[in-house]
Symmetry: D2
Subunit: 148 residues, 4 copies
């Protein structure tokens, strides 16, 4: 991932994303990890394992969506003020190819950041060794909520 081309991010924001991610029981249950946190861009990796499969042995679409949704939500969060919280309003995703290989990397990117609503694009890639296949593409709307 071309991390070096993205604008740097304050350490405090990176830390906030990591702390929030660590509170997501679902991410731990999926074995997901934060692979990249940059301004307006977050990547999350999920291993392809039988315990996360659908009936044909591929990664379940819901797992791919979970990773994409979190990647998009955190991408939005990186561009928000300190006290903000993010909720998903809606998402839509096309599944392009079976999610297989070693792991799936879900990348979330801000398309348009607004005061209340942020629109993100998510793309998921199946990685096996040095190969990378585009397996899903998403559009999502995030809403900013004031934090507690």
């Amino acid at each position: 991932m071309p991390v070096t081309e993205r604008p740097p991010l304050e350490a405090a924001i990176v830390e906030r994303v990591h702390a929030s991610f660590a509170r997501q029981g679902a991410m731990a249950t999926l074995g997901a990890e934060l692979a990249d946190v940059a301004a307006g861009h977050v990547a999350i990796a999920v291993p392809v394992e039988p315990r996360l499969s659908e009936q044909h042995g591929f990664l379940h679409a819901g797992v791919v969506v979970a990773a994409l949704d979190s990647a998009c939500g955190y991408a939005a969060l990186t561009l928000m003020p300190d006290d903000a919280e993010v909720l998903t309003v809606e998402l839509k995703v096309n599944l392009l190819a079976p999610a297989t290989g070693d792991r799936i990397v879900a990348e979330g990117e801000v398309v348009r950041a607004g005061g209340t609503l942020t629109v993100c694009r998510g793309d998921a890639y199946a990685e096996q060794g040095s190969e990378r296949a585009h397996v899903a593409t998403m559009l999502a709307t995030m809403v900013r909520r004031r934090g507690d």
Copy 2:
């Protein structure tokens, strides 16, 4: 659920859905279970547990989507020939309220069954005791693949 109003389904089809569901590692990992299988309609229940949460403690949107996606896919499968397999082409979902309570019931219903493509609607409800709240609504497109 008004099961009695739905057309009866051949036992062989119900069995096929249960056998396929049992092969979904992801459904077992989520603790999901088949709550209803009727012609063109399938319901799946998922417990609300910290290990499936997002950062605010609600059920992760990806978990809700996983249950809705499987419910829609199996709803489509109930109306297909014996040798058919179902894959999700795309899905889109609005999250209406936090997914909380005791469990989430995801109901998938066929809107239009075609030879190749089937369109489904999914609705997820949060149940707590006798209360039921509408927490998500989905539209999804399923494609029929010939089985192996």
Copy 3:
């Protein structure tokens, strides 16, 4: 349409919807008309004409979407305060059958009304004589803006 089952609406709100609809140049260009205005529900009819067709002679998907989008937007508006304006955040639609016949009736219905965001469902029907076919189903998110 079961108008009588819907809650009555203040005449001022009905009038507001009609006045706003009359300002939509696109609705006039499409020959669209308001067929029903009730609380949380609005129907718009569009004639099926060659000048609105796609290349196979059916009503263009964009025309169906235009009618559904306006129906959903006004359905949302009926439940908002006097000074509110509505904008479409996003919409997603499945086209179920060719839009043909005499006219298309697009019905918008509020699924969940919130302070800022309202989620609507839209369904379009092709009418020919006494026959009615379901040709499209939509989910849309509307945002309230304060009026001028």
Copy 4:
């Protein structure tokens, strides 16, 4: 648009797209024109005019969607065999900013071309003089039908 970077297209396919476009009554009614036809990419321009507006004077979302839908459909068609016809299965779009200015250019691009289903992305830009603003982004699924 970086036309020069796209693979060249057989003249017969370009002609097919133009002939099909000319049969779309809706495109003529909207005053739309084909701005670019390349392999897997088609652009359609629509003028911003009061007769195509919504109630605030911006181009109606349905008009933007109509242009994006046709651009995506023809982008898919450029990669299909001679006897193919394209129908829209579903589309979803986020509206990012008011569609205003001199004209809207809707660009459709193939994300994944399959034997039966093709997934496209569409992006609409509002142009005013030399300025260009991103006003909408779409994902759409197209299905190939054998032509008559």
